[in-house]
Symmetry: C2
């Protein structure tokens, strides 16, 4: 059950959610594949990892598959999220409504800048990062978004693990070391840009 299969499930779910509103009842693996940029067999393989949800000769019923995928991905519950680092990227994330709509609710915001501490973002008071434990007692979170400067990221991650966070989405350009059982996803825009640069290096100018 590869990482990439899981990411595709997430894309299938998104496609299904967009479809549902168009009133489609049934979708074939071929059509779903086209929506997310893969192939029919790939879709079927991915889904078959978790059971068989289609009807032969017909396809997949949109709504039930959607429910099933949400379930598989662990999205049939809500996740509480702590944001550490109330900077520019943090501000964009807090103001972004889609995460909440998809079940990820930012319940805690922490920073170490005295100027920021106490101000409210989206109804949430920014707390001092030194008092993480206290903040988590009030508003526990299973997941954290880490948006502090690179130098501060490892310490912040350690603290997050200490207060019980089991998953971190890291935006800082550093590889985090975390104990077994803690999941980290790294969003690294510099790497994305550099792999664009690699792709273009001979094509342009």
């Amino acid at each position: 059950m590869s990482e990439s299969a899981i990411r595709r499930l997430s894309l299938y779910l998104r496609a299904l959610e967009e479809m549902g509103d168009d009133g489609e009842e049934i979708v074939s693996s071929r059509l779903l594949a086209e929506r997310v940029g893969t192939t029919g067999p790939q879709v079927r393989k991915d889904l078959s990892l978790f059971g068989s949800f289609g009807t032969r000769g017909l396809g997949y019923a949109v709504r039930p598959l959607r429910v099933r995928l949400r379930d598989i991905l662990g999205l049939s519950r809500r996740w509480s999220v702590a944001l550490v680092g109330a900077g520019r990227i943090g501000a964009a994330l807090v103001a972004y409504p889609s995460f909440r709509e998809r079940g990820f609710e930012i319940v805690t915001i922490l920073d170490n800048d005295p100027e920021k501490i106490g101000t409210r973002w989206n109804g949430i008071a920014i707390g001092p990062v030194e008092r993480m434990e206290e903040a988590f007692r009030r508003n526990p979170a299973e997941v954290a978004i880490l948006a502090v400067p690179a130098e501060a990221a490892q310490d912040a991650a350690d603290a997050l693990v200490r207060v019980g966070v089991r998953g971190i989405m890291n935006l800082a350009p550093v590889r985090l070391r975390v104990p077994e059982g803690v999941a980290v996803k790294h969003v690294d825009m510099a790497v994305e840009l550099e792999s664009l640069s690699f792709a273009l290096r001979h094509l342009v100018r």
Copy 2:
């Protein structure tokens, strides 16, 4: 020459840049691997795709390898970048100094909100997206960052391709269709969060 190999090169380069400042002269594949979270053999395989830069028995000289990696990744030149979508995420990106430091310079910002058009961000006047062609004549860009709402993303991408952009980093949660020869990298935080959710689904509460 896989996508993932290229991404690792980018991480090796970052590690080397951090090291150089520490005054390390030589680094072994083992050490470099540790820094980026992979293995020695993997580092050597990745590098050997492009030549042999090390000395047996010793390791890799930091500075020359850095230069070589920059070259391989197409980073020994500067890239001009257009930002389309001057929203919250766009604001964070424009204010973020690291991209420029690593050779990616935002030279054009476009939006379709009359309120925003004409205001200056970081010294750059936000232009109307309808006049993309004109904006590109003044400030051409090879690369674009796309940070518009999902519904607008495909149209914006089409327009970017028309004015000659060859690489797009897309932040909107949609799969873009682009012609052959145009590279797209998709930064999809919702997918990241959902794959965290998958990893935690049975571990938490």
